[in-house]
């Protein structure tokens, strides 16, 4: 349901062509698909500009299969599911021949319609190799927005000189995602070098006093550089949503 169809319906109420009760029923039913244990937010794309994404974590294989099947069958959108381990993929791989599994990023994607590329590019930067799963999740999500993505890996601040050759790419990006665990200092350093917004993703990479990513999270929140927005630990999906909305703005 798009905006113009919504306007028609409301006009019909005003002219008496549509009884109030019936209009309420239509509007009540439209915005999501009722699956018993889940409600698919069909309205999301209209409201927020990108389709609902399925978070597999915490759901049973049966629930994932039912919801993903609905999303593939009933709608013509591109489809993305995150936090899908190998068992999940095995349980749903027959749902569509073009369903693609990213083993590092643990995502399931089905691309069916082209997405118009927004102005500018997105740079995804990681501090270390162990941050790649989160960066991959961000990459797959960014594709939903049609974003052009540049990727720079393993440039953590212990060897800050590794960052220098990539400064031109960093500086021409319209928005950047910085993915870092441990002390998470890369976000501050990058934000101090560019004049674009930086989305910082702390990761749970590390041990001991990293406390599952808390150290990186606090570091990024306390960044002495302005222009840094932080998302949840390991939340590559959320980082790319924010970056995608910025690119589209």
């Amino acid at each position: 349901m798009n905006r113009s169809r919504l306007a028609e319906l409301l006009e019909a109420v005003r002219h008496g062509g549509l009884p109030v009760e019936e209009a309420v029923d239509r509007l009540r039913d439209l915005p999501y698909g009722e699956l018993g244990e889940a409600k698919i937010d069909n309205h999301r794309e209209l409201r927020q500009g990108y389709p609902e994404v399925l978070l597999c974590q915490g759901k049973t294989k049966g629930q994932v299969r039912e919801i993903l099947g609905y999303m593939i069958r009933e709608r013509n959108h591109n489809v993305l599911a995150t936090r899908a381990d190998g068992d999940i993929f095995a349980a749903v791989s027959d749902l569509h021949p073009d369903l693609r599994y990213n083993t590092i990023g643990r995502t399931l994607a089905l691309r069916r319609e082209p997405v118009e590329a927004p102005r500018g590019s997105l740079a995804i930067v990681t501090a270390g190799t162990a941050d790649l799963p989160v960066a991959e999740e961000a990459f797959e999500t960014a594709c939903l927005f049609g974003a052009r993505v540049e990727r720079i890996n393993d440039v953590g601040v212990a060897g800050v000189h590794r960052l220098v050759p990539h400064l031109p790419v960093l500086r021409q990006a319209r928005v950047l995602i910085v993915v870092a665990g441990m002390e998470g200092a890369l976000a501050s350093v990058v934000a101090g070098l560019v004049d674009s917004p930086v989305v910082a993703v702390p990761t749970s990479v590390g041990y001991g006093a990293s406390f599952g990513g808390l150290a990186a999270l606090l570091g990024m929140l306390n960044s002495c550089a302005g222009g840094v927005g932080v998302v949840n630990i390991d939340n590559g999906y959320g980082a790319a949503c924010l970056a995608g909305l910025i690119l589209r703005s």
Copy 2:
């Protein structure tokens, strides 16, 4: 120092017109002003698109007066200082006749040059009246970027109907700042209703298990709505930097 002058200098080195030692000296001195106990980042505007802002908290009145005096005298930029309590203002009010003090936002501002307004507008939304100081700090900072700002106050989720009349304003903003303490749920609710990026600022408003803003911070980081970037507790300045960079992107 702008980009073209930097290029000239480097060319002069290449052609031998400028000895290496001397070039190093010039570059060493240029990017910041040395004040003994502080280094003013004159290079910031070139590098990041907005001037360095003075955080007064943790500095003595003497230090603030010295740094602010330098910023007012030596440069022609607009000037902003944050977290300035009444004592600070009393200690510096004579530095310039146009220095303006925002008692709620605790900011000192001197506007001397017009700033070109970026495309689109910024909406600053607060959950409650007690969140105003943070929203004011964000507002004053947003002015550095020339942002056009819409403000909507006291629309916390306990009476979510208060939000409804403002949906048109929220939806036409190119970026939104949501300022909320206590459980911080307003960020999720707003982000679920718009298709623009949302910068969430948790505040220390609340008591008991709000733990100085921790509850709101965690709530915002765990937002089930995509497109939310979080900054530090009470960090209105940082939120506006991020929003300003998004508007300029």
Copy 3:
């Protein structure tokens, strides 16, 4: 032992028909069943209006089997055990042919006597599909109280419009249980829309800075809406006890 039998016994002491020592012995033995490693609180129903429920977590299969067997054999009440994984069920499934296992809610229930339905209904609302195990535990517990239950699933605040069609059901419930993980904002939003008490159950659904449900817990405790009582993370059982006592009040 009910109230009238207690009164008789005490009168017998007063009239000398029952020696003090013997009365003490009877009273000492009555209120619980002694099983060596456990004491079954037979007195609970008299004192609190609902039978003791067996928490399986932390007990060995042998201990669960012994206690559950006692509860089934020696008393004629309805029986409920919570946090029973598949291994536990396998170890006790032969104790009674009518013992029913709820695989999602991980509960074991035996219904033998009808329970009088209290006035009004209970609504159990979940933010997402992954919150269902907790909601199921609440549902099974609510049945001990004879509660009439309405269930509304997957209406988290990222798509708050999904909540709207259910407002009539929410508003006619005499008490509501809201089950939500991540930022837990649904409790505040629902409590702001109804005039009945809300029991909020934070869940451990989420990752990273949800810290095992801490984010949702703090969010619910800091709810800016009045009328919200919070129980432990994932404690569907406790939520339903509270709701059941409210319905019976």
Copy 4:
């Protein structure tokens, strides 16, 4: 604005008697009073059954005076403000001759209309003398609901025998509020002795490892007794809202 007037207005739209634009304007303006920096939720009483209460903490004296003045002038309801220290009271005491200040509970109350007493009574129980400020806040709030209140003070578990003489009062209450700091064990003990819902309020009374009420909060959340709903630390107001809604249910 009550329900029947709302229905009239919507019928007027359907019959064309009221243009859509104008109806939107009326509805937009009705449910709250716009005070610039605050929005008074006039709709609260219609929606939730009790008037909006003003939390003074975090607001300036000027803001409190403006909002309280509006609530006294524009509406005929009973008025309550919480967390009002002596300075606040001095700043608003001239607003109405009947405004009453509770020095222990730090509340400001104006009672203008009788409230119908709901069925049953509320017992407010404290563990120690230092918990009285929270209990007083709860008491003043309970009066908004017309509740009949029984109060039992200083019966903490270190001398659990002090609780025994009060068992009849505890057991006949329809709902109980237990206010306790330190280890907060009183909530569990009371809940194990009654068959009514218990609202537990942890307080910041204590020192060291009480961590500002965290110990009591965690103790109450982990209560091994069913039927306990917890509110924020020191939140006497919230406890009474929940208890009031239970009494009215």
Copy 5:
């Protein structure tokens, strides 16, 4: 090495019968057994009145076997090892025919010499069946001290009446160990009823906001009853050491 032999050695130095160097060597070697990766504190019994106990957790099976073998072979004391899972027992069960494994308490014990019973008795009280492993560890350790032990299980405060019949036993104990998880309130309640010292052991029994025993730990530390000493979460061994020293004092 006992006190009189130590005195002899020192006298020998004073009279010149023993060169300083040699005396140092003897003293250096005596107090512990050197096993390469471990040093067995043979001096412990002389210094503290009970033999060193082997904590298996964190050690490999090979290390446990080597140390336990040394303790069994080289010394004639009673031997105790704690936190020994089934694999550990399998790896060492052949070391001595009288080595006894407590499957619930996860302890290995070898009793070879009688221990004189100290004056008075020790009561070990648990709140629930799931606290038994910790209570068993305490029981096995108390046997090292020759303590006479009374055990009372499953008397948590949700049904505080279950505690009443055991009051005489509780009150005649010279010291009590209270083992409780969840909110840990049993320690306060018991300490308020007796005039003997109480050793409180918080356990990790519980879930959610018990945070691995933190809730019980904080509750016990904040006990409003005097006379409570707290040990680490799940530390049945430490509780019994403290109780044993009290009995011997």
Copy 6:
């Protein structure tokens, strides 16, 4: 009320000489003094062997004066009040000419009856001078038990040699209280050197990552030495209660 008088009363009920109702009334009234906002636990000395102690913190000057006045007037016991700042003392100093104020320990004491000294002595050991206020509170409390006290100050582990000359005193004490802030390591070191029970009191002495005494608290709870019981941060009173009960056992 002592034990024999209690027995008489119960016999009177059995023989009919005392109606049940009247007996209940007497027992209800006896065990505590009702002061409106407080209940004085007169029964404490009978039940626990030492009189109730007044914690001033969190109470108003008026409340302290009322309760202390009652304790002084109505009973002939020794009286102790803790956490009494100078304002409190000024407000109550006229209540009795022999009331003594300990400025370092912030206690108020009135000694009227001799207390029989228990067997053995108590050693109170501090790590540093800043720990003295807590040690003084412990000392004053120990006097309630008639304890003979040895005091050893400023022997923290940074100069562990300072401890050596005091070993004889430490080793002959029947129980020890170790008061230490910062890392709190003194408790472990002392407990490893003696064969008596050690009561460890973490203090809030320190800064930064001492987190108000948390570091010392955790250190003491994790002591690798057996025989250590921990009380709340800064809780000199509780430490002395525990030590006093041990001495009396």
Copy 7:
């Protein structure tokens, strides 16, 4: 690339022998090896005096094999990988015949070139046997620096006399690493006895309120002895890097 080659290159630029563009390319490529998902910091040895060490944790077996293979093939340095479990070793053991696996320390080492021993020795001290894995990781790392290492195991403060015979070794070391879990007090005690710098490594050895090493970490940070530098929990590698740099200084 060493310092003299760098100087040559820069001179070539100054004399025009090397175009700026080409110099930039060379410098850009030199300092690290680009492996796609990782960048090997070849420049580390030049910059910091010891080669980059591979942290295996968080990397897949394929990634470890690729990076380790590069380090073995392309460079002639000594090689070290840490946090390598048995599976990792199985996956890479064929890369070089001299690759050595330390099963306790979980390190992979290849020694190919002799390292000049720095002045003085390093002492590695552990509190208990369970701390050995961290001590072994430190030992293997110290070998990269050519350090002469003395090792003293199992001298925790519960039996502080075990430390005495080792004082001469401790006092002659130029730097010490103290490895301790639980309360971590050994670091303070050792630092109080020597006049050399102490590197303290908290370990996750312990349970309950050790909170994964947090207790030891806080204890060490709050050490009342000066001269203690703390590294992350279980970070034997980092401790040895610091100690190695001190030895080389």
Copy 8:
């Protein structure tokens, strides 16, 4: 008392010239000065190479005056007191005419004897102006060791270019102290650029989620650069002790 005098005394015992009892008395009295409430560690300089430093925080003015007076009168060493606020200085300023007060660093120093400068220099680097108090405390302490100190202020990572001109100074220092609040990233960046040991001092500079320096502390502990030793938050004194011992090693 120096090492040779200690050896003489022990020889005297061996030859019978000094009775054991008397020797014990002398040794007992020598190593510290007994002041009643404090013990001055005169032995510290012998044992650790620098005199005991007085931490004023937590001590009363009277206690500081007594201890400082003793240190000035009885010994001829240099004297340092830290955390001395203005009131403390006023209370002791008459103790010696050369006592010098550092208002920013809050230290009191008396330099009476020259200290031999150790090999190499120390660089103290701060991230911001607000970190100066901690850096000053470190500077004053470093003077006790005779260290040559280079100071570089206000080079936080938000403008990492400000660090570049100081690289030569950083790289030639034999040890560095990095003082930083907020995210504390400067320690990692500096450690990645030098080959000397880095002592990292987190400061409490910041607000909100800096949680009093916790963010910087965790960041520094998780530094991805090797060679970083961390001290307590705001502990400039401890950092300089560690750096001083390294310089002397």
